[in-house]
């Protein structure tokens, strides 16, 4: 009897709470992350954007997020759960959420969706991305100056245009100061796998690289660099805390201004589907303070950043020689965006074969 009563009480209490949480008149803005927000990389940085939105709008918005959502079977349900929960604007932050976002968007025409790094749009689905390659060019320049062996190790996830673009940009930057620069590449086939990333870093250092670059999200490679007294670059967010003696700079994504502007548009009722590809100029790509570098290298890097912002320097300025010797792009002109977004070749000098 006693037990029954307790169970009933708990049940009633629970029902009451369930009902109460539905009553709120704020704009719900929601995020879906593929990694844990504690990755201190890609997902962490998006979550910083979410927090910036909370700070900016205070009582007017309520934010929610789902982390660690696998790309594939679970993505669609995760996104739909947020839409059903009353989210009015949903940011899906990984390429692998593309089809799921489009599917759910069809079911919820009144909800606005924002998909990062993809190319499929709809009336209620916008896309956004950052020109990470701009930061990578400057990192390449720094590596060209700082590497004693003239070799960088590059840890990468998947051979998609986004990633290949980054490798090429880094190489072009490095070649601009050291024409004989070399890159060694290891594919770890994951966006976030600290164990594999650390192993890859060790292998690359073992093969003569003395600077590590990554297109994966964990801090592990940089920590290996720190332990071995080598150098490296942070990815997505400033990782200086994890490698105070190793990090030269970090190619950070700064989604804060973008998220604030989109949520503001939603609040003002002027949101519309759009495609945003912002770089250093728009403040979406920011290189964190240059550390562990001599003054001349620091100055060179700062100059390059200024030139990229002003439009004076574009990493992909033609003609660019591909790995196979053919060239692409007109002399003195930058490659068009479509060319960059479909990039499936290496530039000359990269000693690796693209996985086919």
């Amino acid at each position: 009897m006693n037990k029954m009563m307790m169970a009933t009480a708990a049940f009633a209490l629970a029902l009451g709470i369930g009902a109460a949480s539905a009553a709120a008149d704020k704009l719900k803005a929601c995020w879906v992350y593929t990694g844990p927000i504690g990755d201190f990389g890609y997902s962490f940085q998006h979550d910083q954007g979410r927090k910036a939105v909370e700070k900016e709008f205070g009582d007017k918005v309520e934010t929610k997020y789902l982390e660690n959502v696998a790309e594939g079977p679970d993505a669609e349900r995760a996104i739909e759960r947020l839409a059903r929960d009353g989210c009015k604007i949903i940011f899906t932050t990984s390429f692998g959420f593309m089809d799921a976002t489009i599917k759910v968007a069809k079911k919820f025409p009144k909800v606005h969706f924002e998909h990062a790094t993809g190319y499929k749009r709809a009336k209620n689905v916008a896309t956004y991305n950052a020109r990470f390659y701009e930061g990578r060019y400057v990192m390449g320049e720094i590596a060209g100056k700082m590497s004693k062996t003239g070799t960088a190790g590059y840890i990468v996830s998947f051979p998609i245009p986004e990633v290949i673009m980054g490798i090429n940009s880094f190489m072009l930057g490095a070649q601009s100061v050291n024409p004989n620069f070399k890159i060694k590449i290891v594919w770890v086939n994951s966006w976030y796998d600290p164990g594999k990333e650390a192993d890859a870093a060790k292998v690359l250092f073992g093969q003569g690289a003395d600077i590590i670059v990554q297109h994966t999200d964990s801090t592990a490679p940089l920590q290996v660099a720190q332990d071995q007294g080598k150098l490296g670059f942070g990815q997505s967010s400033d990782m200086i805390k994890f490698a105070p003696k190793a990090q030269l700079t970090a190619n950070t994504d700064n989604w804060n201004p973008y998220y604030i502007s989109r949520v503001k548009a939603e609040l003002d009722g002027v949101w519309k589907s759009d495609d945003t590809w912002g770089g250093m100029k728009e403040g979406m790509v920011v290189l964190s303070p240059f550390t562990n570098v001599p003054d001349d290298v620091k100055k060179m890097a700062e100059d390059s950043v200024a030139k990229i912002k002003s439009g004076e320097l574009h990493p992909f300025t033609g003609p660019i020689t591909k790995q196979d010797g053919s060239t692409v792009g007109e002399a003195g002109k930058s490659l068009p965006d479509e060319e960059l977004l479909g990039m499936a070749y290496y530039v000359k000098g990269i000693d690796d074969k693209l996985p086919q």
């Binding site: 369930g18 089809d99 693209l354």
Partner: protein, 330 residues
């Protein structure tokens, strides 16, 4: 005074039903304390976790049906695999590699969309499902053969084959089967409309859910009412008596591995024919392993796996719900 533990001379029917319930209750209490330690109201947290998905049963509100659908969709592969494993385990055939058979089924079933992309016929779905089941059976036939021929433990062989199948899948989606128009992502072409499982009405309940219910019911009937079920149970509890009854141990190893492997393969192809929609390096969050728990939680009774599958689906989806409603980290 000395305490003596004595074995009951007979199974207690009551305990068969109650002991899983006790386990669940203990889980709830432990969970409650953990929520409390995290500074949350344990009742609210447990409600969000376990009861909210079932809200439809007392609200009857249309919008509350969705979590229930998701639950069924999530439980479907667990039940499909778990019911087969329950039968195999009843016969003391320890198929631990259902995850591998699931993968093999998904691979063989995907031959249709990959190589016969344009073949559009009412038979397309049936061919894919059948190939899925056959793929799982072929994969399970390997441990069956090794067990009967060389006495190799099926626990080890079936488990090791999980990794083989996953590497095979990985190689296929990065290599020969990669979608040429897929921006280099390791995945096959997306399945066309006629290559995905039909859903009931506007819901997300797909044919795989129905298949899971049918499989669980059919296997429960087999175990309770047929000579085959009698044979499996006998060989499981008393191999010597099974031999005296003229039942073949080798035959039951084949039967159980092919059955549970076939169902796992079916679950695999059904997953990629619905929720995933293409082959990619990872097609299952470990359904084949979770189904082992489902089989035991369901007391090795195929109908029991129906309930156990739902219970595990709740714990999975509840985690997601808790993230959204309580802001708990996953």
């Amino acid at each position: 005074m000395r305490l003596l533990l004595e074995k009951r001379s007979e199974h207690s029917q009551l305990m068969t039903v109650i002991s899983p319930l006790i386990a669940v209750a203990l889980t709830l209490v432990t969970g409650g304390f953990m929520f409390l330690a995290m500074g949350l109201n344990p009742f609210e947290a447990l409600y969000v976790y376990f009861l909210e998905p079932l809200k439809f049963f007392w609200t009857f509100a249309a919008e509350d049906f969705w979590p229930l659908e998701q639950l069924a969709v999530k439980a479907a592969p667990l039940v499909l695999i778990g019911a087969g494993l329950a039968v195999a385990y009843s016969a003391n055939v320890w198929n631990i590699g259902a995850e591998g058979q699931l993968t093999a089924g998904a691979i063989l079933g995907a031959v249709v969309p990959v190589y016969f992309t344009d073949w559009q016929s009412p038979l397309t779905l049936i061919a894919m499902l059948a190939l899925g089941a056959i793929g799982g059976m072929l994969w399970a036939a390997i441990p069956a053969f090794l067990k009967n021929r060389f006495g190799a433990s099926e626990i080890l062989t079936s488990l090791m084959l999980v990794y083989v199948s996953q590497l095979l899948l990985d190689w296929l989606v990065r290599g020969p089967w990669r979608d040429p128009a897929g921006h280099n992502f390791p995945q096959t072409v997306a399945f066309a409309d006629w290559q995905v499982l039909p859903v009931f009405g506007e819901s997300s309940l797909h044919l795989g859910v129905l298949l899971a219910v049918i499989a669980a019911a059919a296997l429960a009937f087999m175990m309770a009412r047929t000579l085959k079920g009698f044979e499996i149970k006998t060989l499981g509890v008393s191999p010597r008596a099974g031999r005296f009854a003229g039942f073949s141990r080798a035959g039951s190893v084949w039967f159980c591995l092919l059955l549970s492997g076939g169902l796992a393969g079916l679950a695999g192809i059904a997953e990629v024919m619905n929720t995933v929609g293409q082959l990619q390096p990872k097609i299952s969050p470990g359904y084949g392993f979770t189904a082992i728990i489902v089989a035991f939680l369901g007391r090795l009774n195929p109908l029991g796996t129906l309930i156990a599958g739902l219970a595990l689906a709740i714990s999975y989806l509840g985690g997601e719900a808790a993230q959204v409603s309580l802001g708990v980290s996953a």
